[in-house]
Each structure stands twice: as C-alpha cells, then as structure tokens.
C-alpha cells in the first residue's frame, strides 16, 4: 500500500472511531465526501483503490452509517458495497481466529481441533476470494475512469461473489464462536448483521447471476475467454 493510502487509512480509522458514537458529522467534516473529487476541483483526487481501502475500514467500524453513499455515486454503489463486505468479512475472520486461539475447551484452545481448523480454512478462502474480487473490481474501475458501464462485468461478478460468500462466512464465524457470538454484547454481530443486509442491497444473488449469465451467454463459450482476457 502506498504511503498516501496508508495515511488515508489511518485518518479513516481515527475519524470512524469518533463517528461510531457521533454519527456522520466527523466523516463529513473530515472531507470524505471529496475523496473521489479531482484535486483541481478542490477534492482529494483519490482513486477507487482508495475508496476500496476506506470502505473496507468503514465496513468494520461504521457499518450502519451511509459512508458509501457519501463517497460514491449511485451507479457504483454495488462496487462500494463489495468493499464494505470485504472489510466486514475480514473482521469476522479476525474475530474468529482470535476467539478460537483464546477460548479453551477439553483442555486446549478450540483452534487446536482439526474440525475447527478445517472450518476456518473454508471461511478464510471465502474471505480471500471477496478481498480479491474487491481489489480486482477497484483496479477495473480505476482503469476505466469509474465508468460503471465499462466495469459492468466486474461489478456483477464481484457483487455476486461477495453475496455468495456471506452465508458461508457468517455461518462459520458464528459456529466457531458458540453462544458468546450470539449475544447482543459481543462484537461479532456488528459485522455479521450488516453482511446479511448487504447481500440484499444493490442486487441480491439472483439479480446479478441472471444479469451476468445473460451477458456471458451473449458472448458464447469462446467469447467469454476472449472478453475476460481482453479486459
């Protein structure tokens, strides 16, 4: 990550920490609405890679605030949602790892049991897939100047892939946490409930699968490969 993006992320973490109790005001004041606005127009001049990084943090720290709506135009909200989801899934994985390495049963940490290890490996694969999808979509949006029409394939594929990971990630995260993860107090639900919500927002699985499926059908079998490698 570039030094500039590193700084941006540090700022985001500090501002979102304040916003978690104060609401949108600190985020508005810090100028996150100007993230994508060109420097010439008085903005930050950021790219979608920056948006992806900031929204992954927002997905963990302020999942209930409309940060994505502040930063990104409506037409790219599906992409913004993928970034929120990638962040929240990363947090669900981190909490799960922390829990199974700490919680002891049968005289050893849960993470020493193969059944638990195998479950978390499955979950980690899903999280990595969504992180990769978010990053690849960001790269495409940057390559086409944030034009949603030119990134339609990637947006559909990434949102669909993220949606499909939600069930696996939330189920395993809760399963390895046991009862404590089901409490209102414990922080796991602060990422798993938003994940369930985001799956429905800006296109559920059926919406994107049908859209992408029809687009690909029009390309033909050979055409799909040619289209994929031409982008």
């Amino acid at each position: 990550m570039s030094a500039a993006r590193e700084m941006l992320c540090d700022t985001a973490r500090a501002v979102f920490a304040e916003a978690a109790t104060a609401g949108m005001a600190p985020i508005d004041e810090a100028g996150f609405g100007l993230l994508l606005v060109p420097e010439a127009d008085g903005g930050f001049g950021g790219d979608w890679g920056d948006v992806n990084a900031v929204l992954q943090i927002a997905g963990v720290m302020v999942p209930d605030l409309p940060v994505a709506g502040l930063i990104a135009p409506d037409a790219v909200q599906p992409a913004a949602t993928v970034s929120l989801m990638a962040g929240a899934m990363g947090q669900a994985l981190a909490l799960s790892i922390e829990h199974v390495n700490t919680r002891q049963q049968f005289g050893r940490p849960l993470g020493k049991f193969q059944a638990v290890q195998q479950s978390l490996a499955v979950m980690a694969c899903e999280v990595r897939a969504v992180e990769a999808a978010a990053a690849a979509l960001a790269a495409r949006l940057d390559a086409v100047g944030f034009d949603p029409a030119a990134a339609d394939f990637e947006m559909a594929a990434a949102k669909l892939r993220a949606n499909r990971a939600v069930g696996v990630v939330t189920a395993i995260a809760h399963q390895v946490h046991g009862a404590i993860g089901f409490t209102a107090e414990y922080e796991l639900n602060r990422v798993t409930i938003p994940l369930m919500r985001w799956r429905s927002e800006h296109g559920n699985d059926a919406y994107w699968a049908a859209k992408l499926g029809r687009q690909v059908s029009g390309l033909g079998g050979q055409g799909l490969w040619e289209a994929l490698t031409a982008r």
Binding site: M1, G90, I97, V100, N101, G111, K112, Q114, V116, Q117, Q118, L120, A121, V122, A124, C125, V127, R128, A129, E131, A132, A133, A135, A136, A139, F153, E154, A156, A157, A158, L160, R161, R164, D205, A206, W208, A209, A210, K211, L212, G213, R214, V216, S217, G218, L219, G220, G221, Q222, L224, W225, L228, T229, A230
Partner: protein
C-alpha cells in the same frame, strides 16, 4: 495470513500481442482433438504437439537461453499457460517438466544436470514425473521410506513410489528419497534426479476409474545412479519439495481444467437461456473470474520471489471446489441423458467421473485446509 492485497499482474512486453500470436499459432497447430481430451488438457499426451510447441518457444519459456530456454518472465509464461488450457491444448506430455522440474533444476540443480536435461525440456522432448507418494506415504509425505544409500559407485536406491503421473512416458523422475540412514520424518530426505531407463526400475500401470492410464507404480530394486543425481542439498529434500509444491498448487490449471464444460454449457444455452441456466452461468462465471484474479495475484507474488504458500493453497482449495461443483451443478439443471452423444453430454459424463480426483491430486483437500489453518495461526 495477515490481510490480502492483490499483487499486480503486470508481465513485461505486449501481453495482447503474446496472446494473439499464440492463438494464431494454435489455430494452425492444435490438433482437432476430441472434446473430452480438450477438457483434460494437462493430462492429454501428444508428443508431436509438445515438440511443435517447444520449437515455437512456448515450453521452458523462463529457463535461461544458454540451456535452450526463452529467458522470459514467469508471468509471460503464465499468459501462455492459461491460453493453452483455455484452448484445451494437449499439454500433458511436457506439463510437469515445464511447470516444475525445469524451474527446480535451474534453482537447485548442478551445472551438469542443467546442461543434460534443460535443453530437452525446452524442446518439448524430455518429460518428467514426480516421485513423492509411496504406499505408506500419501498425505503423510514425511513417511517416505524409499532409501538411497551412498556407495563408492553412486546412490543405490530401493523402494517404491505410487500414484506417479506419467511415469510410463517420462524420461526422468525427480524423487524424494531417504538418504540419511536412521533419519525420521521430514529430516534426512533428499531429491534425486533419476533416469527412468536405469536398470532395476519397474513401472506398472494403475488404471483409474475413468479407464485412463495416468498414474503408475514405480519399483526400485537396487537401482544404481551416479552421485551426481543428487539435486540441491543433501538432507534438504523436504524444504525443496515444499517450495516446489507452491508451483504446483496455484497455477491456472486449478480452475481451467474444466473450462471446456463451461464453454459448452454457454454454447448449448444459446443467446437467450432460460432463467435457471442463465443463473448457473452467472454464478460459475463469477467464481471463475474471482479464481483468475487470485491465481494471477499468486503467480505475481511467486514471480516477485516471495513464497505464497498459503495463497497457493487458497487457489487450490477454491479451484478444486469450483471444478468439482461445476459438473454436478450442470447435471442438476441441464436435461441431458447420461449417454448423450453431444459435446455437452460427453463432457459432463467425463468430468463427473474425473472430478473426485481434483481434490486429491497435488495435496488432498484436508491437507490443503490444514496448510491454510497453519497460515491463519491455528497450528
């Protein structure tokens, strides 16, 4: 496994031109093989095709030119490999030599080994197999018992390998053997490069459930090879093999070996598919696109000299699941009799039968998940 950023996949040179040249070459030189063979690209043996591909400069691309290689960037090779697989080209004969044995000889081999083997590999004429599994050492590879004893004449090898893909057509085997007497587990192992026409070696076929002869049993009965057969450092075989497996696990073959089925499904669906078929195509495409991003990122990380052991395992785990699920999901939705003679029906049948092997070869699903768990800090 802290965080995850996509490594930029940025091969030098004109990638579009590289693809275009290769596609034009394939249009002329790829045999009009059977559709099932095309779906089995990296297990399809065709010596003539391998020789032609080598002559055209598409094998041993990353090997140094002084050994007959192309001195190309590993990511240029990646582009070529994914094109060959997507086209269903019969690359099985030289596959292992090109993918892992050649690079391993460059990295660990002696000058004599490089001069002796690399030019043949780059020409697409010298094929290799990997001698890892044994009857008592499957997933538990550290249980290897085949021994090589150092004598005045050379290494004397006794033991047995099994599940050795392509041993029956290969010229050499890169074998993991126990060179240190009394050693246990992953200590005391070394890699030897063995010419398979050496006296005392017996190769017997094992026919798989699809009726194919891909793997073999290989017996070593007092086999004598020169001391120069040692690859790399004596006793460091485990470390060398582990590094090699990274090459084996993350390539585009982990999600493209069933690509012919996806293409056939799309073609059979036509431009205006019904809702269930469109949904399936959409879901499979999203997964394939994501896997390609992960695989390219892992290749870029490997090319940068890092060791993406965990990322490689993620690619293998997700790729295997994708390829195993695909024929099952197609079967569940597309009305196609078991003995349908069309392309889609034949591919479907062949891949349903072949698919159990996908999460066995190159490390079982359970072993791969164990590696990922270790990367997560759980073991």
């Amino acid at each position: 496994m802290q965080g995850f950023a996509l490594y930029p996949f940025d091969p030098p040179g004109d990638v579009a031109a590289l693809r275009a040249e290769l596609r034009a070459w394939l249009a002329v030189n790829q045999p009009q093989g059977d559709v099932v063979a095309r779906a089995n690209s990296w297990a399809s043996f065709d010596a003539d095709f391998s020789r032609a591909l080598g002559t055209a400069g598409y094998i041993g691309m990353t090997l140094p030119t002084r050994y007959g290689g192309g001195d190309r960037h590993p990511l240029e090779r990646y582009v070529v490999i994914e094109e060959l697989l997507a086209a269903g080209a019969p690359v099985g004969a030289h596959w292992i030599a090109d993918r892992q044995t050649g690079p391993l000889i460059v990295r660990y081999g002696s000058e004599e080994q490089r001069q002796r083997y690399l030019p043949g590999i780059a020409k697409g004429e010298l094929y290799a197999c990997i001698g890892l599994s044994e009857p008592g050492a499957g997933s538990d590879l550290a249980a290897v018992r085949t021994t090589a004893r150092e004598t005045a004449e050379g290494w004397r090898i006794n033991g047995q390998k099994i599940w050795t893909t392509g041993a029956h057509f290969s010229h050499i085997m890169l074998a993991l053997v126990r060179t240190e007497e009394g050693s246990e587990r992953n200590a005391g192992l070394s890699q030897l490069l063995i010419d398979l026409d050496t006296p005392g070696i017996t190769i017997r076929p094992i026919i798989d459930m699809a009726g194919n002869h891909d793997f073999n049993e290989v017996f070593f009965d007092d086999v004598l090879v020169s001391l120069g057969a040692l690859v790399g450092t004596r006793g460091q075989g485990w470390q060398q093999v582990t590094a090699e497996l990274g090459l084996e696990r993350s390539g585009p073959e982990r999600y493209l070996s069933s690509h012919a089925l996806l293409a056939a499904l799309i073609d059979a669906a036509g431009a205006d598919p019904d809702a269930a078929v469109a949904t399936l195509i959409g879901e499979l495409t999203a997964e394939m696109w994501t896997l390609r991003q992960l695989s390219m990122s892992t290749a870029a990380k490997l090319a940068a000299g890092e060791d993406p052991m965990v990322e490689a395992s993620v690619v293998k785990e997700l790729g295997n699941a994708f390829e195993q699920d695909m024929p099952r999901r197609v079967q569940a939705i597309v009305d196609c009799p078991w003995d349908d003679p069309g392309d889609l029906g034949r591919l479907l049948r062949a891949l349903l039968i072949a698919s159990p092997s996908f999460s066995l070869r190159g490390g079982t699903r359970e072993v791969i998940r164990g590696i990922i768990a270790r990367g997560l800090g759980l073991r």
